[in-house]
Amino acid sequence: MTQSVFPDAGGSQSDLWKPNRAASKMSQKAVVILFGAFAMVSVLTTFGIVFTLLFETIEFFLEVSPIEFFTATRWTPLFANPEFGIIVLLCGTFLTSAIGLLIAIPLGLLSAVCLSEYAPRRARAFLKPALEVLAGVPTVVFGYFALLLVTPVLRSFIPDMQVFNALSAGFVLGFAILPTIASLSEDAIFAVPSSLRQGCYALGATKRETITGVVLPAALSGIVSSVILGVSRAVGETMIVTLAAGQSPTLTLDPRVSIQTMTAFIVQVTKGDAPYGSIAFKTLFAVGMTLFVITLVLNLISYWFVRKYQEKYE
């Protein structure tokens, strides 16, 4: 009886069930190797980015001294008499990002609080997708919006403002990253267990006191990582600042004048024809490297903060 279920027991049953274990194991092995190779693509991408940036940056520093790169106060790499003061581009990036974050952080956090704590379910079901739509708007569309709709309005209030200016770019940049901060913070706030809120109410606190005193501190690690992601998105944002903030590298913190960010410089050079091996081409990667290092540091801070301060609730 027990013998008959085995295929090698002979008889007509043997051709009903043919476990080709060798083939099964082979396919398993082949798939693991194939998908493992696919997984390596993402690792190779990282190596590719680091290698690309390093390779051309080293080439760049063979021609331009690092001292000049970090201390010069003019940025004119495409001129006949070039100067390479990255501080000028850093200043432009700082200016637009700071304006954007001044808008996006408070509005984003308040939106997150509103969606999670105040909005009734039906309003939330409409508001959250609307914010997701805002997040899905291509940045070139935001660039159009900043240059052709926001700038004219701002100029009617501030008459001596230039057509290209950091204020308009920063303003729209703020609304472009607002959904990122709002949505990730909302996840963190929503995940705070309601027992904490109820405990706070039981002590006689009002709703606002509960939110600012208990809920937000409890969600702090998630909120901070959403803000840091917002910062790194602001720093890396390209199309809004290229279209609306201009192409004239200026060392200024005046939001009314035309400036240039790191990302806008990269677009400016690649849009024209920078032949391989030229100093303009190498400069591209030195600027890219600076940008990459900034976002990497931000990412590491976020990683460290979350590990250190993350609250775990049952």
Binding site: V43, F55, L134, F145, A182, F285
Partner: protein, 306 residues
């Protein structure tokens, strides 16, 4: 709500609950947070209205099927539109198999070992790299290093760059979808003597497909709207001819796409070009809307049937 305040006042000596004042602050905070939420919606509404007002008058069938031109009234978006479609095909063809394969590998085959952890940290880092850096990678790696395959700064290089850009998103979506499949199904499969791959292929993956599809479509719609990396790779050239789906066409060292075309028109000083830029934005937004609606449809359809 007023009476407990009064009794509290009479009972306790030092303690002043000051409920009236606290409720006022509460009210103000609530109103401010509502205004913050609505500000995002208002900006979205102004943006959409502004673009519709500017762009609708020029929208016509001719606009869709004409090549770009130096004269704004004759210009159209046909090469850019086709360019975007071909970019989408290349990006999907490369990123879906690699992304889903990686997701399956990490979630089903290599859950807890060191390599998986390294890859995992690496993927979360990649997701935070600005898209323009991917453009530089594409410019160097595909445009130069593998230029003999891609033909230089071609549409193929652009598509491959976008594929690398959205790979982390697809991997994460695949893993999330696989995570939501109950473990009992894997155990049942293996109890019947199937290998891990056989279980995944015949039972786990079919259940995870809707989630994977939703995430993938959203990632692809992000790729379609990306501008910075393809400008860096493709040089934002003036391309009056439509691209073709042949090997030579893919290797043509100049290409255009909808976001590049919009960028070109917006950065010109003439107002007529700004108006047709708005029309092109409408076409781009319709494409994105269709893709997002598909993703939501897939999600709702399969969620309710389970």
């Amino acid at each position: 709500m007023v009476s407990p305040q009064k009794s509290a006042k009479s009972n306790s000596g030092d303690y002043q609950p000051q409920l009236q004042k606290r409720y006022k602050i509460d009210r103000a905070f609530q109103i401010i947070s509502w205004m913050a939420t609505l500000s995002g919606i208002v900006v979205l509404a102004v943006l959409v209205t502004g673009i519709l007002i500017q762009g609708i008058p020029n929208l016509s069938f001719d606009f869709l099927v004409s090549p770009p031109s130096r004269k704004p009234e004759q210009a159209g978006i046909w090469p850019a539109f086709l360019g975007s479609i071909i970019l989408l095909i290349i990006t999907a063809a490369v990123s879906i198999p690699i992304g889903v394969g990686t997701g399956i590998f990490l979630q089903e085959f290599a859950k807890d070992n060191k390599i998986a952890q390294v890859i995992e940290i690496n993927i979360s880092n990649l997701a935070a790299v600005p898209s323009i850096i991917y453009g530089l990678l594409g410019l160097f790696a595909f445009g130069r290093l593998f230029g003999f395959i891609t033909g230089g700064r071609s549409i193929l290089s652009g598509g491959l760059t976008l594929a690398l850009l959205i790979l982390p998103v697809i991997i994460v979506a695949t893993r999330e979808a696989l995570k939501s499949v109950p473990d009992s199904i894997r155990m049942a499969g293996m109890a019947l003597g199937a290998t891990r791959w056989q279980t995944v292929r015949t039972h786990v993956l079919p259940l995870a497909i809707p989630g994977i599809m939703t995430g993938t479509i959203l990632a692809l719609s992000r790729a379609i709207g990306e501008t910075a990396p393809i400008i860096v790779v493709g040089a934002a050239a003036f391309v009056p001819f439509a691209p073709t789906l042949t090997i030579e066409g893919l290797q043509e060292p100049a290409f255009t796409a909808l976001p590049i075309q919009i960028f070109n028109w917006v950065s010109r000083p003439q107002e007529e070009f700004h108006a047709i830029a708005a029309s092109a934005i409408i076409v781009l937004m319709i494409v994105l809307l269709v893709m997002n609606a598909t993703a939501i449809f897939v999600r709702n359809r399969f969620q309710s049937s389970r």
